[in-house]
Symmetry: C2
Subunit: 276 residues, 2 copies
């Protein structure tokens, strides 16, 4: 049944992982199907259950399987949920989620799109201070920023988190420092305050979540987060740093040169443009 392990060539763990990987690849274990139990596999491969578990962890970290406590180990469904897109010519406003994203998600059959807003006063330091045009060496009192945390829930689960930072000199004692949804968006509020956005850039990176983040997002181990930082300017003055954190299995970013047109529709119907 099993191609015998060439003794010494690799560890049992890797041998088992490779065997299972092959079975998943050729469809022996179909998508979504439950794998044999650890005990059964241990017998089949004539190794201890602990070693089977090690192999399972390898597969889990590759995102091939999902292990469910008390239930079994399943071949991970291909993540067809790829979507979300943002145009560099648009503006990822901290609270326009409802207008662009939520309707799309609802159309896709998801309900219960909830958005919560929190406010915190924070001190900018390091890279974020620099991006907001604040000298990180200044005393704390002069490095204050208003932090707006916007959590988007889909079906009761955290879908993405957006943390916006505004220099306190701009946002303190304005609508921006009130923990309440702003229907017209923070960009408009900034404009009314005399800081019209004239330029912006995005920084995109990826990292693994902390244990708390993994719990918040409900993501399996081995799933990275995409982090997008959009820094906006009014002339030479940085006015906001909007950070969006998204699990990589449900999000993909789209950046288009010039106008986004119907050609991107080849990607499928799941392209959402936030703000044009």
């Amino acid at each position: 049944m099993n191609s015998d392990r060439i003794s010494g060539s690799k560890s049992k763990r890797d041998w088992v992982a490779e065997s299972l990987r092959a079975r998943i690849g050729d469809g022996s274990y179909a998508e979504g199907a439950r794998l044999p139990t650890e005990e059964v596999l241990a017998e089949e491969f004539e190794i201890s259950r602990n070693t089977v578990r090690d192999a399972m962890k390898v597969l889990q970290n590759e995102g091939l399987v999902v292990i469910r406590h008390g239930s079994g180990t399943y071949v991970r469904n291909n993540q067809p949920i790829v979507h979300l897109a943002t145009s560099v010519h648009g503006y990822v406003d901290s609270e326009r989620f409802q207008r662009g994203y939520a309707p799309h998600m609802r159309a896709a059959g998801y309900d219960q799109i909830v958005e919560t807003v929190e406010i915190a006063l924070d001190t900018a330091s390091g890279a974020r201070a620099v991006r907001l045009g604040i000298d990180p060496e200044l005393p704390i009192a002069q490095r204050q920023v208003v932090k707006r945390i916007c959590d988007r829930f889909v079906e009761g689960q955290l879908w993405q988190r957006q943390v916006s930072h505004f220099p306190a000199t701009i946002a303190m004692n304005t609508e921006l420092s009130i923990p309440q949804h702003i229907e017209r968006g923070t960009r408009e509020v900034l404009r009314e305050l005399g800081y019209e956005r004239t330029w912006s850039y995005d920084l995109v990176s990826a990292r693994m979540p902390s244990p708390q983040e993994r719990q918040s997002f409900g993501t399996p181990p081995g799933l990275p987060l995409i982090v997008q930082d959009r820094i906006a300017y009014s002339g030479e003055q940085p006015i906001s740093d909007i950070q969006t954190v998204m699990p990589a299995d449900r999000h993909q970013l789209l950046y288009a040169e010039g106008e986004v047109d119907e050609r991107v529709l080849v990607l499928g119907s799941d392209v959402t443009l936030i703000e044009r």
Copy 2:
């Protein structure tokens, strides 16, 4: 010494991981320093070595420590090598690395920038076929693509890998299907072939590397890859899908609305623009 574990509140593994995390956080274990051996920690926490190892794996997956076989476990150095940027208005050509990136890396003190080129004939399927405007249902013979694999090495280590796909109808039997560096870039070759780029978009995602990729890149466990796909068009005809895969600890993508100017220099001196 240790804050006693509140029995039952959490697993020993998490308790130990948390303790070590705290020590790393407050500097008890400095950056780059070696942690006590697994055996010593097992004694200190009065648990078995296996459980210590489980805790170590947790920390490793968070990117906090690096475990070196035969040597010890070390607090991971912060990766200050963040950089690389690309402008959406530029064109990430499959081989312009030398002109934009290599000089920058050399200026930063890195030497030995090597680029290798391989060619393969492949069959497009699934999402990639769709992006290249090829019906995935067509017979294999009509779904052929020329695949150009471009590996960039820095100091003998794989730094990033670029895999370009061109429809075979365009690239077959042209300079594009010869495994040799193209100094003027593939964009120019396409133009000469009558396919001038008129539009493009990027898809950015992140995922964990496969075991082979981890080995190629020499990255530690728990480090994701950033994947950028740039799809270029000539009119309505997709002409290339250039995929760049980069470890997330050494790369960050920069997308700017309008022209990139000196304002991004606040990010530091490590901003490289590939092709304007």
